[in-house]
């Protein structure tokens, strides 16, 4: 804790990503202060997912820096959890052949102590570890109201339940920053409210406070839960501010209207419930 402090959050400065001749992101700067919820919006292809991939280390930026906890940050996907960052995936990303609770238990991978020898021999130590992990994971499911599905195979669960299991898996890592990729995508209107309440409660969680960066198409949801909203279009940052500032920003309207005037209305207004697993 010499230079940096755990309270300086995530900042992205001047990030550019180039795929061949295509600029997916151009000089994007934003920050996620501690204990805040930041929303990332923009039309399809605006670079939201690319930015997520930069922050979680799947894509290396061709220019720009990241800092996390006040230190320069070169993310690698498998190190994120140890650094206090968890991410959910747009395709839900559950392990389809494992049960819901096993999925969540995998979120606690970094806490596993049992090694190969005790696993091969089935020693009592590893069983104790396992019981503890199962208890915590079941609590994690319970927090999202899906504990009754704990022993069902993930691929057999309804889509909204899958989304919550994935969220539970991210939360049991006890992250200080949570990256949510379309948390409300595919959910029905009746699922919005509890999800919004949960997201809003994360920064103030007495046990493990956590800031949130989320990508979302549902504008009602974004405006309802976010402290700050960042608008991307064609890889560039168009606007940033509080939800009310954004809603009255003409540049934002242009960005959306320029692409597809119905896009935002339809997404915000219509609640689509997916009952089957997306292909």
């Amino acid at each position: 804790m010499l230079k940096g402090s755990p309270d300086s959050g995530l900042s992205v400065s001047g990030v550019t990503v180039q795929f061949g001749g295509l600029r997916a992101l151009e000089d994007v700067t934003l920050s996620v202060p501690p204990r805040s919820v930041v929303g990332l919006v923009g039309p399809n292809g605006a670079g939201k997912t690319t930015l997520f991939n930069v922050v979680s280390g799947f894509v290396r930026p061709s220019a720009g820096q990241l800092t996390w906890d006040g230190h320069p940050f070169h993310p690698k996907p498998r190190r994120l959890v140890r650094q206090g960052i968890a991410r959910t995936l747009q395709d839900v990303g559950l392990f389809p052949h494992l049960t819901a609770v096993e999925n969540v238990m995998l979120g606690r991978t970094t806490q596993r102590r049992a090694g190969y020898v005790s696993s091969l021999l089935g020693l009592p130590g590893s069983a104790r570890d396992e019981r503890e992990s199962r208890r915590i994971s079941t609590e994690g499911l319970d927090r999202l109201g899906v504990a009754q599905h704990a022993e069902r195979q993930a691929s057999a669960l309804p889509y909204p339940v899958q989304k919550r299991v994935a969220l539970a898996r991210a939360l049991v890592t006890r992250p200080r920053l949570l990256l949510l990729d379309e948390p409300a995508g595919g959910l029905g209107a009746e699922d919005f409210e509890p999800l919004a309440e949960l997201v809003k409660s994360l920064p103030g969680d007495p046990d493990s406070p956590c800031s949130v960066l989320l990508v979302e198409h549902h504008m009602d949801f974004v405006m309802g839960v976010c402290d700050q909203v960042v608008v991307l279009d064609f890889g560039r940052l168009v606007a940033a501010g509080t939800p009310s500032e954004i809603q009255s920003d003409p540049a934002v309207a242009a960005a959306y209207l320029g692409i597809d005037p119905t896009d935002i209305e339809v997404d915000a207004g219509t609640a689509v419930t997916l009952t089957e697993e997306p292909a």
Binding site: R78, V81, F95, P96, E102, T109, S119
Partner: protein
């Protein structure tokens, strides 16, 4: 719940050990000789089940890892004086040497395999299998070339020598080893480590985001799988064939194992056992039926040698076409039906 499972595995293994011991003591030498082969295949098939079924990595070269087990066991046993019998201690150490050497080779192969996917991995492991002949020929002063390395005979330990024939002793050791391998791999499969293997199979990106190194999990799985194959190879070489030679570890052996694993349902250790038994005994049954067709000796030999393989080929295709969507679990349903079929075919004798 997990603990119940682990206790159950332990009890099941003990019960199975008792049944196996009784079976071996009741059986003629001919049957006991066959049990040795079953045990060797079960070890390798269990290892392959962990690799393909649990971790999602395909290997068409497990025969090569069995060869490593057989050859290293042979080298260890031959390092003693030339024509003495191998004691029980020597035998156990030889099996261990076979398993550990294969595991060490498995580190190298696994490190490569972890960087490959799908057809690339299948092709590379196929190429690995094709190397056995070349390596044994090139190092023929050490590995005996085409002729291979003969093994010293094993000796029944003194306190048991009055009660057990040599074949009974060999069958006990082989089946005991197979049970140990099954016990260990089942524990592993139901442990957090096994869950991580499955997670990597199901979704590599999500596994990374859970903090897993995909490559490390894949290499570890390959090493454990290789160790099991090495133990199987050592049993096959030392106790069944009594020789380690390149002709015993061909592509066909790898395919036999693949067939056993696929028929057994890809993923369960019990399935690996059932699949192995089906593959070996289905083959025997076909040979048997062929012998009763009244063909000339040459024709009978030809059919007996190749018809079982053709049957497994058809079986592999049918199983894969019948379950086009996924590989997990559902295939296990086919095993009981096959057992029924075998009984019907066998009953006609």
């Amino acid at each position: 719940m997990l603990q119940i499972k682990l206790v159950r595995h332990g009890l099941l293994t003990l019960a199975a050990a008792a049944v196996v011991a009784l079976l071996v003591l009741q059986s003629e030498d001919v049957s006991n000789f066959e049990y040795i082969q079953v045990a060797a295949y079960v070890c390798a098939a269990a290892g392959l089940t962990l690799l393909i079924g649990v971790n999602g990595q395909l290997s068409l070269g497990h025969a090569a890892l069995m060869a490593v087990g057989a050859y290293s066991a042979a080298l260890y046993l031959r390092s003693g004086s030339e024509d003495s019998l191998a004691s029980a201690g020597d035998l156990f150490v030889a099996l261990l040497v076979g398993s550990v050497t294969a595991a060490v080779v498995g580190i190298a192969v696994g490190a490569v395999a972890a960087r490959l996917r799908g057809p690339y991995l299948a092709g590379a492991t196929l190429a690995l299998g094709a190397c056995v002949v070349g390596v044994t020929t090139y190092f023929d002063h050490l590995l005996g070339g085409d002729q291979g390395l003969t093994m010293p005979l094993t000796e029944v330990p003194a306190p048991l020598s009055a009660a057990l024939t040599s074949y009974q002793w060999s069958a006990l050791v082989s089946l005991g080893t197979a049970l140990l391998v099954l016990f260990l791999l089942t524990n592993l499969k139901y442990s957090p480590v096994g869950r991580e293997m499955a997670a990597v199979r199901d979704h590599e990106v999500a596994a990374q985001l859970c903090g897993l190194s995909v490559a490390r999990v894949q290499i570890n799985t390959f090493v454990v799988s290789s160790a099991a194959a090495g133990a199987g190879g050592a049993i096959l070489g030392v106790l069944y064939l009594q020789i380690a030679s390149p002709g015993a570890f061909t592509l066909f052996l790898s395919i036999y194992l693949l067939a056993a694993v696929v028929i057994g349902g890809l993923g369960s250790m019990r399935g690996a056992v059932i699949g192995t038994v089906i593959v070996l005994y289905f083959g025997r049954l076909i040979e048997d039926r062929v012998a009763h067709l009244g063909l000339s000796t040459a024709q009978t030999d030809r059919l007996a040698a190749h018809l079982p393989l053709a049957a497994f080929g058809v079986l592999l295709i049918v199983v894969m076409l019948a379950v086009p969507g996924g590989i997990q679990g559902t295939l296990g349903r086919i095993a009981p039906r096959l057992l029924q079929l075998m009984e019907t075919v066998g009953g006609k004798k």
